[in-house]
């Protein structure tokens, strides 16, 4: 499954502070959409609104509409927990559960929700998810070892395995490679390209080469200054953004003339 996400006049607030203003965009299914822009421009804030994770911060709220295959994620009666079961997330720093083994980390979406599954189902799902995260060959002999014993890149792929194990429709990645070395980064990038066959993938990155390498669509955000809201400047096909952007600001940023 893979879902199409529509953002209509979306405003994100932290209490009274407007962090991201008036975003309108359509995120395509079975594609990688990259959010780029300078620090503090609201990319991470915006990606966290896609699965209602920003609500974890007290005072954070959203105005406008966020439609997932036509269904309003912020509509009345929508349970954020159910939203997050459909929209998986991978964070900047790898965060496997330290008390769990590699296998339990992969199955954590089920185990933490108390859902029962047979042993053979669990084995199958573990293998499928780890294969999907390109980690199976590295860890198949030590599934009962703690997940925190893996290298940073492996831990991040374990987190991706954990996210895809619950069969979401959308996978959000918030700077998934910024804490990793180039080789692990390449592994994650290859993985992201594979994942778009099955999922809608949204990735926040500071690395413009990364965005141009792997994404199909790119959204450029920026802020006019400190205390001002972040704004979506341009959203288009990645090749157009990097070769022939329509906005001067985008061109300045992608060509390195910014700031």
């Amino acid at each position: 499954m893979s879902k199409r996400i529509e953002l209509l006049n979306l405003n994100v607030y932290y209490s009274s502070f407007l962090a991201v203003a008036d975003v309108n965009m359509v995120i395509q299914p079975r594609a990688i959409t990259a959010f780029i822009g300078p620090s503090g421009c609201g990319k991470s804030t915006l990606i966290r609104t896609l699965n209602r994770m920003h609500e974890v911060i007290p005072g954070a709220r959203v105005e406008g509409q966020l439609l997932m295959d036509g269904e309003d994620v912020y509509g009345p009666g929508v349970d954020p927990v159910r939203v997050r079961r459909q929209v998986g997330m991978v964070f900047q720093r790898p965060n496997p559960f330290p008390t769990m083994s590699i296998r339990d980390n992969v199955l954590s979406g089920y185990k933490l929700n108390n859902s029962k599954m047979s042993k053979s189902e669990a084995e199958e799902l573990t293998e499928k998810s780890l294969v999907g995260a390109n980690l199976w060959n590295e860890v198949k002999d030590r599934l009962d070892k703690p997940g925190s014993g893996l290298s940073g890149g492996q831990q991040q792929r374990l987190c991706i395995a954990r996210a895809i194990a619950v069969e979401p429709d959308v996978i959000l990645m918030d700077e998934p490679t910024s804490a990793l070395d180039p080789i692990s980064t390449a592994a994650i990038e290859d993985l992201a390209v594979e994942l778009k066959e099955r999922f809608t993938v949204v990735i926040v990155t500071h690395n413009m080469q990364q965005a141009s390498r792997i994404s199909d669509m790119t959204a450029f955000f920026t802020i006019a200054g400190t205390g001002m809201p972040g704004k979506l400047i341009e959203y288009d096909r990645t090749d157009k953004i990097f070769s022939n952007p329509s906005e001067q600001q985008t061109e300045d940023y992608v060509s390195g003339r910014f700031g």
């Binding site: 007290p58 997330m89 559960f97």
Partner: protein, 354 residues
């Protein structure tokens, strides 16, 4: 402003040889002892060993500083002086501990026998008898206090860390702080007053002691658990939320297991804190020489109260009472030690691996 003088070479001053420390310490000890001994000979007093040690250490520090100053330079001399200072502070701190353990073990060994752990004091007036009634009482009352305090404490801490916002949370934190400072006698009087309301004046019950102890214990459990929950990285909570795990399951299955080792240690510390309480138990649990397994009925002896009464109300054969008091103290110390070891095992098994 003086600028830092740039050395022309990286070569420093020559170091003092390694044996200078023991040699100098020995020398100053000998000199100190000799002067004290000669002083004692002229005034016909005994040699004061404490004075010998103090003068020896002071002489050692001064001599080392001066020697180092002239050979190694000012900076290294300071370093050596402060090292001596810190080491002596450590020694001063550790001496009472060792002395206490030594005294309790040697004096408690006299009655550390089978009888002590199998008999009560019923109908015993002289030698013999044991403290089984007090050991049972201490274990039951402390166990009940733990049963009361740990759930309340952990849940309060979860409220404060995971849910508490605004005025109510601030108030709870404030009252926990206040409760941490409640004198134990006040806790005892509180439990007594509470039980008098239901059972009339003169009531004595083991469970009352447990309640008094839990008043003292709960704030310690709350504080310890709170600190442990706070250091669970937020990323783990977010990871669970992002998997569509509801908040209460995240707390139950991610936050608590991650901090379990620290919480267990905190609980053990809080038990160690209350297991030696005497005053509140004297008031509400009272004292008896007989076995009483039922904490909901009648007086119940506990080890601290047993030690206190054995010492305070010595019978005809005074030494027998004093010996029992020391062995009671030793038993209490051993119980706390066993609990500490248990806590270490718990934190070893449950702490996140990797």
């Amino acid at each position: 402003m003086t600028s830092l003088q740039q050395p022309s070479s990286l070569q420093g001053t020559k170091d003092l040889p390694r044996f200078i420390n023991p040699a100098l310490l020995l020398a100053s000890a000998v000199i100190s002892f000799a002067t004290q001994a000669s002083l004692a000979a002229t005034t016909a007093l005994e040699v004061n060993l404490l004075a010998v040690v103090i003068i020896a250490v002071l002489g050692y520090a001064l001599a080392l500083y001066l020697i180092s100053y002239f050979i190694e330079g000012k900076r290294k001399a300071k370093d050596r002086f402060v090292t001596v200072l810190v080491s002596s502070a450590f020694a001063v701190a550790i001496v009472p501990l060792i002395s206490l353990a030594y005294t309790v073990v040697t004096k408690g060994a006299a009655r550390f026998d089978l009888d002590f752990f199998t008999l009560s004091m019923r109908n015993v007036v002289g030698q013999g008898g044991g403290a089984l009634h007090a050991i049972v009482g201490t274990l039951e009352i402390t166990g009940l206090a733990t049963l009361i305090s740990v759930p309340i404490g952990i849940m309060t801490a979860i409220y404060l860390v995971e849910y508490g916002r605004g005025k109510l949370a601030k108030m709870v934190t404030f009252f926990v702080d206040v409760m941490t400072g409640v004198p134990s006698i006040v806790a005892g009087l509180f439990a007594y007053a509470l039980f008098v309301v239901f059972f009339g004046p003169g009531v004595r019950m083991g469970i009352g002691g447990a309640i008094a102890l839990s008043v003292l214990m709960t704030p310690v459990v709350i504080r310890a658990t709170e600190e442990m929950l706070k250091i669970v990285p937020n990323e783990l909570r977010e990871a669970a939320y992002a998997l569509g795990v509801p908040k209460w399951l995240t707390i139950l299955k991610v936050v608590l297991p991650t901090s379990l080792a620290g919480i267990a240690t905190g609980i053990m510390i809080s038990i160690a804190r209350v297991i030696g309480e005497t005053a509140p138990l004297l008031i509400i649990a009272g004292f008896t020489a007989s076995m009483n397994y039922n904490p909901f009925d009648e007086r119940m002896a506990t080890l601290p109260v047993f030690v206190f009464t054995s010492y305070a109300n010595q019978g005809i054969e005074m030494q027998a009472y004093v010996d029992r008091a020391w062995t009671g103290a030793l038993t209490l110390m051993l119980i706390v030690m066993i609990l500490n070891l248990a806590a270490r095992l718990v934190s070893k098994f449950f702490s996140p691996k990797g």
